[in-house]
C-alpha cells in the first residue's frame, strides 16, 4: 500500500524559505503569486493491506518523527 504524508508549517509561523521562493518567483515574472509556504512530502510504502492500521501507523510516524507539531501540521493520505 502506498501513502503520502504532507507536512506544512502552521499558520502564523514565519517561513523565510517560502518568502525567498516567493521573491524569486516574482522576480522571474511569474504572474499572480500572492504567497508561498514551503513544506515536505513523504512517500511511504506500507506492508499489509489494512487501511485502518496503515493510517494509525502513519499518524504515529508523523507525531513521533516526521512533523514537529510545535510548528507543523501534517496530513495523511492513502493512495
Amino acid at each position: 500500500m502506498k501513502a503520502r504524508v504532507t507536512v506544512t508549517l502552521k499558520a502564523g509561523i514565519l517561513d523565510p524559505q517560502g518568502k525567498a521562493i516567493e521573491g524569486a518567483l516574482k522576480s522571474l515574472g511569474v504572474d499572480g503569486v500572492a504567497s508561498v509556504r514551503q513544506g515536505k512530502v513523504f512517500d511511504i510504502e506500507l506492508a499489509g493491506a489494512d487501511k485502518a492500521k496503515a493510517e494509525a501507523a502513519l499518524k504515529d510516524a508523523a507525531d513521533k518523527l516526521l512533523a514537529n507539531t510545535v510548528i507543523e501540521n501534517y496530513r495523511v493520505e492513502l493512495l
Partner: protein, 233 residues
Amino acid sequence: MKAAILVFPGINRERDMARALRLVSGHEPAMVWHAETSLPAGTDLVVVPGGFSYGDYLRCGAIAARAPVMDAVRDYAAKGGLVLGVCNGFQILCESGLLPGVLMRNARLKFICKDVHLRVERSDTPFTRGYNAGQVIRVPVAHGEGNYEADEETIKRIEGEGRVLYRYCSADGVVDESHNINGAAHSIAGLVNDKGNVLGMMPHPENHVEDIMGCTDGRGLFAGLTAHLEKAA
C-alpha cells in the same frame, strides 16, 4: 565533575567540548555513543555538543532526539541532573521535548559564523554562576538554524520565570533587533527548562576558553558548573 558528552553521527564539536571541560574542571569527560541505553554511573553533567547530527536531515536534531541514549537523558533530567546543549545540542534538546519551542532557519537565511556578544541575564544558576548578572561576554556562533521561536504563551512563561540566561546584545550590553543575529524571539540565545537544570544555547562557549583562541569569555560557564558540582559533592 563527571561529565558525559553524547556522540551522534555527524556531531563535530565533541572534542572541543571535551577539551574545554578537561581544561576548566580538571576531569576527563566520558564520551557516550548514541546507541547506549544508559549513562555512566555517577554522571553529574550531560553535554549534547554541536555539529550536524544525521546531516541535519528531516529537521536539525530531529533524528538524534529519538536516539536510544536520549531516553536515558530524559530519565536523568527528570531526576534533576544537569544537561547542557550547545548549538545542534540545543536543537536536539528542543526536538526531544526537554526544552520548549523550536529553532527555525535564521531570519535572513544565512549561515552565521562569527563572534557575538551575549548578555548574561542572571548569575544565580549553575550555568551562569561563573559570571555576574548583566555581564557581557564574547563567544562564537556557527549556525544556520538558531532562530528560537515558541508560541506567545510559552515565551511569556519563559520570560516570567526568568528562564532566559543568555541574550544576543551589543558589545556594551544593549539588546535590540540590530544585534539579534538570527531573529530569535526576544533575542534569546540560551534558556533553561522549567526546573532550571537543562540549558540550551546556540553560541559555543567551549570555543573561547584558552588564550590561543583570542578570548576566554566562555570559561565562566564551565567554571560555574564545576564550582556548582564540587559544592554539591
